[in-house]
Structure formats: C-alpha cells, structure tokens
C-alpha cells in the first residue's frame, strides 16, 4: 500500500452569513495517497471548493469556520498549526489552482514577478539569479516562452494565464495540488491541452492532486479515485473502477451519470435529476438527497444514512444496508 498523504476526517464547515448559518461541508471524510489523483465531483455548491479552502486553511476570515473534524497532512494535523506554519505549507507543500485564470492573477504585477514571489518566499536563501532561473524553467515547463515573463496578465489569453497559474502552483514542487475546476473557464480545445499538461507534469513531479470538477469525462481520464459530494457530504467514494464499473451506486451518482450525454447509448433523451440541491442553510432531515431521490423510503427522511463499505468502495445510503 502506498502512503497516505492527506486525510480528512469528519470535516464540517459552516459559513456565518447575514442570512444565517450555511452548512457548506458536513462530516466529510476523504483521503489521498502520495502521487495519486482524486476527483472531487458534485454540483455547484456541494462544498468542493470549501473543502479545498479548508485544507489550505484559507476559508474567508470570520465568515467560514471549521466546526468539527481534522485534516492530517503527512500524518500531522494542520488544525493545530500556527499561521506562520500554514504559510510555509501554502504554495510549498500544498498549492491551489483556482477556477478562473482571468481573475486569479494580480493585474498590476508582471507574471514573472508573481511566479518569482512564491519561489522567493519558500526559498529565502536563493539568490536573485537562482530565482530567475527557476522562473524561466517553470515557463518552459508549462510551454510558454520565458521572454514573456516581463509581461502583465492582461497580455495573455485565458489558457496561457492558466498555464501561468499552474507554473506558480508547481514552482516549489508541492506534494499536493488542489485544482479547483482548473479548466471550466477555458475553451473546450484549450481545456484538453491544459489537462493533458497537468497530467504530464503531475506524473513527472510525482505530485498528488485533488481535481475538483463536474465533468465525469475528465475524471475517467485523469483520476485514480473519485469522491462524489452532495450538499456538503461525501456520499460515494472509491477507485475510478468502483465508480465507473461498480455494481452499486448512490442514487445521486446514478443521476449524475444519467445527466451526461452518451454517444454510444441509443436513448435520445438525457435524464436530469429532478429538483434542486437543498438550501445549505436549511438542510433536510435524514438523507440530504431524499427529497430528490427516486428510491426514497420513509427511513431516508428521518435517519441519516450509514456508511456502507465494500473494500475501497464507500456509499452513504439506506439502499444497501
């Protein structure tokens, strides 16, 4: 067995907003091994981004709060770490790539400076030349000419900006990358290029990655294991084979697969999941999926479903008791 890099145990996060408490993540369990890729799948608002921000301990100040659970990085809890210790982890051991490359680069500094900054912070003994050399290497690595490092973000296209963001994330060779829908904001053709590049680089550097996406195609292509999130809960979790080829599934996962077009199947209709995700400030009792579930029983509306484990495959549902 390979070594566990990150373990999330019973994580719950709440946002204290003007309109009341929003339960963004509820008792989520996740783990990822060194060098592995975990796909984190779910609708918008399922708590995927919040989970990633919790790992970075970058939840919006005063607004977001981790109310229970623990996050272990290399076996050490990050919950007890000081802000200074967290800073030495961010960008160095764990990096995050955000969704929208158009807005995630600072418009008033050159892209080279922004990459150099992360190298400098985590390698304070580097000389200026060493930093610059590393910046050039990173440009090369993501397939951009190093001369362009003196340009500003507005001079690059969306795909190029995301390459720069990736270069920034990889510059200190982190053990873990949190990629929050890294290709959603890009054109389809660029999406494929960027994904392929991320996959290659990740293998080259032996980095683990959590890939947040709602594109199941991407998951099948790039991930080793998959976790499906719904209303802040991890409702199904397993290897890619478990999820794509396993027999039993959570009804939500089934619905998720049913709502993507399939060229090979004869059916000429998609099967969307009825209804909307519940309001996270007012979650239903029992199973959170019960109001939309085609197999809903009385017990689902009252009792939270248990975790059913079958080897590497985990499902949180009353159906398989």
């Amino acid at each position: 067995m390979s070594e566990k890099l990150l373990e999330i145990k019973d994580l719950s996060v709440v946002y204290h907003t003007e309109d009341g408490e929003v339960y963004a993540v509820n008792h989520a369990d996740l783990s990822i091994n060194k060098g592995e890729t975990l796909g984190l799948v779910g609708e918008t608002g399922a708590g995927k981004t919040t989970t990633c921000l919790s790992i970075m301990r970058l939840l919006p100040e005063k607004l977001g709060e981790i109310i229970s659970g623990d996050i272990l990085l290399n076996g050490e809890s990050i919950m007890s770490k000081s802000e200074a210790e967290m800073r030495s982890i961010r960008g160095n051991e764990v990096s995050m790539i955000f969704q929208d490359p158009m807005t995630s680069l600072n418009p008033v500094y050159t892209v080279g400076d922004q990459i150099a900054e992360v190298i400098q912070i985590h390698n304070p003994n580097y000389t200026k030349e060493q930093v610059e050399k590393r910046v050039d290497e990173m440009f090369l690595m993501v397939g951009l000419p190093a001369e362009r490092k003196t340009e500003y973000p507005h001079q690059f296209s969306g795909g190029m900006k995301q390459r720069i963001v990736i270069a920034m994330a990889l510059a200190c060779e982190p053990n873990l990358i949190l990629a929050d829908e890294p290709t959603t904001a890009l054109d389809v053709t660029i999406q494929a290029q960027v994904l392929q590049m991320m996959k290659d680089l990740k293998e080259k550097l032996n980095t683990a990655m959590i890939l947040v996406t709602h594109d199941l195609g991407i998951v099948a292509q790039t991930c080793d294991s998959v976790a499906v999130m719904y209303a802040g809960e991890v409702i199904e979790n397993g290897t890619v084979e478990d999820i794509f080829e396993g027999e039993n599934h959570h009804p939500y996962t089934v619905g998720l697969f049913g709502s993507i077009p399939d060229l090979t199947s004869k059916s000429n209709r998609l099967h969307p999941i009825d209804g909307l995700m519940p309001d996270p400030s007012n979650l239903p009792k029992g199973c959170k999926f019960s109001p939309r579930c085609p197999h809903c029983k009385d017990i689902c509306k009252e009792v939270e479903p248990p975790v059913i484990k079958n080897g590497t495959h985990m499902i949180r549902c009353h159906l398989y008791k």
Binding site: Y15, T17, D19, V22, A24, G45, P280
Partner: protein, 294 residues
C-alpha cells in the same frame, strides 16, 4: 458563497424596484437616514403651522437678545432677539426647497441632454458633451460664484447658478446609463420590433436608468444644501434676515468672541440634513449594486 439570484424577470420593471427596496430596508444605516430625512422634510413642510414667519422668524426684539435656552426659546435667542429654534426650523424650508428645486431643474435638463447625447450619439453627443466638459473644467465653485456675484444674490440667481453647476454631472450619468442600456438585448429586441425611439426611451431606458439617477439626486440635494449655505455665508446667496442656515452662520460669525453658541444650531441642522441624505444615497447605491456593499 454566493446566494443564488432568485429573481425571475417576470415583471421586470416592478420586481426590480421591489428588489432594490427590499435590500434598502434591510440596510439599517440607510433606514436611519431615510427616517431622519423624512423628519426634516416634515418639519420643513409643517413648520408654518406653529411658527409665524413675521413675528417668530424675522421680527427683531432687541430687549430679548442673547437669551440662554429656556422653555420659551429652546435654543435661546440671537443678537436681534429672534428665537433661534424657530429660525432653524424655518431654515429647513429654505434649504430643502432650494435643494429639491436644483435637483429637479438639473435632472430635467440633464436627463434630456444626457438621453439625447447617449441615444442618438454622433454630432449631438459631441456638441452636448463638449459643452459639459467646458462647464466641468471650471474647478470648484468658481462658476456658481461668478454667476451669482455677477447677477447679484437672491434665490432665483442662486438656483440658476447651482443648477448650471449640477447639470453636467446629471447629463454624464444619464448618458452613461443610456449608453450601457442601449446595447442590452431587450433594447435591440424592442428596436427590431419597430418600437419608436421615443417609446424605447420612455418605456425601457428611463425605468432602468432610474437607479443611478436617484443616487445622484440624493447626493445632489445634500451637496446643494452645503453650497447654498456656503454661498450665503460669504454673502453671495440668500441674505439676512432670511433664516437660511448659512446666512445665520454668517451673522453669528460677528459674535464669535462673546456668543460662540450661535454657530451650533444652524451647523448641526446642516450636518443632520446632509448626513441623512448621504446615508440614503449610500444605501440606494448599495441596494442597486449589492456586490459593492461591504
């Protein structure tokens, strides 16, 4: 966590105003401002019911001058024995009416000019906006002061001068609203359906441009009240014995050595009115553009 945009544009015009209003009343500071402003406005309207202009506001009674606050004279009396409380209340009438009149005048002229410039573009736009640039290029209150100093004081000249100062700002705001709206799909759609220009302006553009205009209007009333007071203070506005707040302060200036309390009441009246309008304006702006709210 973005709270979903739940508004369905079924009754576009009505629901938008209702939504802005809902956000506005949730804003505590804005509501305080609105209530404060409403109180000042009511005072301005009803003050003639219990204050007699001739005997309470204007008549000088030298034997009663510089009296300390008492039940009869809440804020005391001034150097001519006039009741300061009555004068400050009456002053609200003057400041409010000048403020509102300036907004109405500059709004009407600014809206017409801005709508024409924005909607038709081209030469009309160029002529109007270059003229506005010229007016805006005269810094500070120089233009208004020049006009009043040349024409002489009095309420009409003051209105003229302050409106001329405000028209360019209104024109710019209306024009930019119109320009943004002009490219919206529903305007294109209306035009494609053969709707006349006048109807597009009246039915589509004005209801949607109303928000920024309201914000500017509330801030303009606030600024105008300060301008009127400032100009009256230097003797280029409303002249004593009218109980305009700035004019009262101008008279009080000569008594600073011995009776400094005379500057308190008119000053506080100005601050309360202007603060309330600023709160309303800020609240409206936040309600219009919730992402700007901090």
């Amino acid at each position: 966590m973005s709270v979903g945009t739940s508004a369905k544009p079924k009754y576009k015009k009505r629901s938008q105003i209702a939504m802005i209003w809902r956000r506005f009343i949730k804003n505590r500071m804005a509501m305080i401002g609105l209530i404060l402003f409403a109180i000042m406005l009511i005072i301005a309207v009803v003050s003639p019911l219990f204050i007699n202009y001739e005997t309470d506001v204007i008549q000088q009674t030298i034997s009663e001058r510089f009296m300390s606050p008492s039940a009869e004279h809440l804020f005391g009396t001034d150097q001519f024995g006039r009741d300061i409380f009555s004068r400050v209340l009456w002053g609200a009438r003057i400041s409010m009416s000048v403020g509102v009149a300036v907004v109405i005048i500059s709004l009407i002229i600014g809206s017409i000019l801005g709508a024409v410039a924005g909607f038709f573009g081209g030469i009309a736009d160029n002529i109007i906006m270059r003229f506005m640039d010229i007016l805006l290029a005269i810094p500070g209150t120089m233009l208004a002061i020049t006009i009043v100093a040349a024409l002489g004081g009095g309420i009409q000249n003051l209105l003229l001068a302050l409106s001329i100062e405000q028209i360019p700002k209104m024109t710019r705001i209306v024009r930019s609203s119109v320009l943004t709206l002009k490219t919206q799909d529903y305007i294109e759609a209306a035009r494609a359906c053969g709707t006349t220009n006048a109807r597009i302006i009246y039915r589509h553009i004005i209801p949607n441009a109303i928000g920024p205009i309201l914000v500017q209007a509330s801030l303009t009333v606030a600024r105008t009240i300060i301008s009127v007071a400032s100009m009256s203070f230097i003797g280029l506005g409303i002249n004593p014995p009218e109980p305009e707040w700035g004019a009262m302060l101008s008279e009080a200036k000569n008594q600073l050595m011995n009776y400094p309390y005379l500057v308190v009441a008119p000053g506080v009246a100005i601050i309360l009115t202007v603060t309330s309008l600023t709160l309303v304006g800020d609240g409206l702006r936040d309600a219009l553009d919730p992402k700007m709210k901090n």
